[in-house]
Symmetry: C2
Subunit: 345 residues, 2 copies
DNA sequence: CTCGCCGATGTGACCGGTCACACTCGCATT
DNA sequence: AATGCGAGTGTGACCGGTCACATCGGCGAG
């Protein structure tokens, strides 16, 4: 039989520390938890022993004792897409400064069994607080499937109703309207929209775009839907590229903008000479595109941090803190310009 | 005082199930762990009760009982950069199919205190197996700081020595050499290289490039270093863009390629007309760039999956399985072409 | 018929913390 | 002098599983 690879004397436990310090385990526990009911002297002694023994409290045992884990578990359907990944990053950061462990559980799809598995997974008290990134159907389904009693919060797109728990979103509508107005102000007759998948007709990007168009009295062209994959956005782009009436496109995110720009390129159309495009999200590379992309910068990391605050409040049974998120904001760069002069017509 | 928001009858425990099924808790435990020493009939009864009570075993209690957690914790210095994020994705996927929980702990920097904190964090047995994404100094430092006894594996860049634990890497050297040869074959006199930060002089991207140059008898220009941020890559690009002797650039990753391409654009140079560029990584959008990027596709997700297998073997005390990773491969697209004819000179 | 063995099941201790509560002081109050 | 009180500390039970070992009934072998 193979030698026990990782055999080793076990890590010191709280009892070892207590014995070495000549106090009870409870006193050590108090020191660990910064209880005020320990004399300064005792505290110092215990601290020294802890240091000497390199003692580290066992998170698992602690969680079992208290009944809840000092941590959060993030449920998401994706970890790579920019919005998801940055939200996750914000969550991780905030959790880390709070001393919380971070777990990740991805939901494969919005199929019922997948949703149930994910919900079951986080229903385990060891999951701690739960944060659902509910930017899509799968996430929303998990959010709905969570037992009422579970301390949870969600990052979500605007317009999706959530009852009974904090759901935080970035107000995209203003910025979307602003982006649309920007294009209109440049002289475009109207603005086309390639939309990301959405669970809500009231989603901010769509709503802001439509509102700005309405307010300007511009025609509202049919929405061109795209998926999360670049390929489908490319297909959508080809449709628009073939239409000579299209001079301005508001893209549901920067990936879509990339694909649309490619489709335009293949159709021999110049950006922004022939067609202006605006993205959404503000991925780090977008400033370095050629042309640099005009886009709406979204503070997903801030959103993530806010969900951590929310779930922490939920865990503590406190009322939800008022959060002020930095609102999405339009960054005008090179991909938008006035339409070609119509004099030639 | 606020009402207890999440008060609720506690989840059923194994004892509840045992009582309801008329068996002992140990028998229930055996059913849960698929022990063969349970009669088919008893097993069925217990299963039914479990279903009826919606019982789910408590991961924390189980971990405490067995002494080790059914999960892996990933240590990384970044979660957004493509290589890191895709590796993480691969890990998550593999862990999920194995029924393992996934934790994430980011190391803020390679400062000693940060490294120690991260190492301490995962030294807790509740962290389970540990996977270190050691693509940079911080990751490598954590890997080195881990106690010998800890079951861990690493995803790492080639050329960095690691002793005592499985360290898996993608062989970038072949592909890097191939990319360089591709450019040379196109007629370029030599190939410049903008490098990602690396902890090793023997790192694959650098080594393959140099080797191919040497073998072809081409001059080896000085390496232009860049950081992980797009900005620094842009600065590096400007230097190269100002040099009219530069006709081909091998970029350390696709982000760098993006920034270099931008710098070239600003300098009035066409890609691939004036300068050819090759990226590294194969980010999903690279196929949709204008021009579409010639790049080396890396299977980071596969790398991540392999580390899970490795840490699992480590955990079980088994010998390391032989892994066959899909090797990086050059994908030729539009950003590479023969240099402009020199006749004009 | 008795023994031994095996499959199936149960029992108590234990993992490493925390909780609720009890206890022991020393000092101020009545 | 008895009482009250609060700060500081210790004790036993417990969280929800698992482990090691004991037990029990039935069956084939000696």
């Amino acid at each position: 039989m193979p030698a026990p690879r990782h055999g080793r004397e076990p890590a010191p436990s709280i009892r070892d520390v207590a014995a070495a310090a000549g106090v009870s385990r409870q006193t050590v526990s108090r020191v660990l938890n910064a209880s005020p009911k320990v004399s300064a002297e005792t505290r110092r002694t215990v601290m020294e022993v802890i240091e000497r023994l390199r003692y580290r409290p066992n998170r698992v045992a602690r969680a079992l004792g208290t009944g809840r884990a000092r941590g959060v578990t993030v449920v998401t359907s994706d970890t790579m897409l920019y919005g998801y990944a940055s939200t996750l990053q914000g969550i991780e950061e905030a959790a880390r400064v709070e001393g919380l462990a971070v777990g990740v559980r991805v939901v494969e799809s919005d199929r019922e069994s997948d949703v149930r598995n994910a919900a079951d997974y986080v229903s385990d008290p060891s999951a701690g607080g739960v944060i659902v990134i509910a930017f899509d159907a799968a996430g929303i389904a998990v959010l709905r499937a969570l037992p009422e009693s579970l301390p949870a919060a969600a990052a979500i797109e605007p317009g999706v109703p959530v009852v009974g728990r904090p759901a935080i979103c970035l107000d995209e509508q203003q910025a979307s309207a602003e982006a649309t107005r920007h294009l209109l102000a440049l002289g475009h007759r109207t603005v086309h929209h390639v939309a990301i998948p959405s669970e809500s007709e009231h989603n901010g990007r769509l709503a802001g775009w439509r509102r700005a168009l309405d307010e300007a009295g511009a025609a509202v062209p049919p929405v061109v839907p795209a998926g999360w994959d670049v390929r489908s956005a490319y297909e959508a782009g080809r449709v628009l590229a073939a239409d000579s009436g299209v001079t301005a496109i508001l893209c549901g995110n920067d990936d879509i903008a990339l694909a649309v720009r490619r489709a335009l390129f293949e159709a021999g159309k110049d950006v922004p000479g022939d067609v202006s495009i605006v993205g959404f999200d503000g991925v780090p590379g977008s400033a370095y595109w050629t042309p640099a992309l005009t886009t709406v910068e979204m503070d997903f990391a801030g959103l993530g941090r806010a969900t951590v605050a929310a779930v922490l409040a939920e865990l503590a049974g406190e009322p939800q803190p008022a959060v002020s998120l930095t609102p999405p904001r339009l960054v005008v760069r090179e991909s938008t310009a006035p339409p070609r002069a119509h004099g030639a017509r």
